[in-house]
Symmetry: C2
Subunit: 198 residues, 2 copies
């Protein structure tokens, strides 16, 4: 950490902060908001509990700091919008399944949905993710009518997939191979985004 001489930071500070963030992300994903505590995060990160509040403040502030969006909309949106319009649903479900398979992005996604059932701040983040940051720009980019409803419908299926497959553990979904899920779910998302809803 030669840099610490110049910045005035204590050696290891950013490593400690990152260890706390990683432990917090894992616990929010596996235990949900209410069963994660500042103390349990400190224990898993191997640091003194006072350091958790030193770096992050309250538990709610810790949650908001470590559970940002699990992806960058500036990269994802063009990737889903470019190409055949009739394949946008398939590109979206492939993106969701790939995100769930990445340890950090998957933990953030699961943590956000799991925590949204008890913690209003997590519910707000999830609404923002779905309505403002991801699904609404996709629905608008595809130039269908009634983009807010389309975004919410597609979001409901994605949230339901994560709940059923990752959190509640419906065996047939947890065990299905990804291509089976793509074939099953892509037409649903495609119809919600661009098809007839009437």
């Amino acid at each position: 950490m030669a840099q610490s001489k110049h910045t005035g930071r204590r050696p290891g500070e950013s490593g400690t902060r990152e260890a706390i963030a990683t432990a917090a992300r894992q616990q929010f994903a596996q235990l949900g908001y209410d069963r994660t505590s500042m103390r349990s995060v400190a224990e898993q990160a191997g640091v003194d509990p006072s350091l958790v509040s030193h770096f992050f403040g309250s538990k709610q502030q810790l949650f908001v700091a470590v559970i940002e969006l699990p992806f960058d909309p500036a990269i994802i949106l063009p990737a889903i919008l470019e190409g055949e319009r009739s394949q946008a649903g398939e590109r979206l479900v492939r993106f969701v399944l790939a995100a769930l398979d990445q340890p950090e992005a998957g933990a953030r996604f699961t943590a956000m949905i799991r925590s949204a059932t008890s913690e209003p701040e997590a519910a707000r983040l999830l609404r923002e993710l779905v309505t403002t940051r991801l699904m609404a720009p996709i629905a608008e980019g595809l130039e269908a009518d009634d983009a807010p409803l389309r975004a919410a419908l597609a979001g409901s299926q994605i949230v339901g997939l994560v709940m059923a497959r990752q959190i509640v553990g419906f065996a047939a979904l947890a065990e299905a191979d990804p291509e089976t899920l793509v074939s099953a779910l892509a037409p649903t998302l495609q119809r919600y985004l661009t098809g007839s809803l009437g």
Copy 2:
């Protein structure tokens, strides 16, 4: 309570038990499992906290006792399976929306899904509801191949609808009128139950 003379029950016992059950159902639905306590249930029911454990035992036992299935499969299954096979998806979504609109059934449904994110016993109940008691018999009754996958897919959309509309509060779903939701969701459930998944 003339009956109490014969049964040996204390007068008002069943009323007290029911008041506790109603308060518990409401709190599990609104707060989730972790934020519901024996004490908060007692307070809302207007009884001494010791009565909650007297009647129900532990918090987990209280949950299982008051959050039974929010409907009777013996009545629901024939109602969804009878009639045009091509309309089964519509009958299912109408049943779900009607259940969510009934105060007690709606509270049980929401409580089960909200609590399933943190409490394994609630997750088990939700899996049983979806896979064993409701969706699997429907999928089997419709005589489609791969009933377990079909049941899990339909269940994922129903769970996602409850999450998005009732728990996380996606505005476009919360504000949509029921017929709009029926039109949007029925084709999804129909395809999951009887259509091509490949």
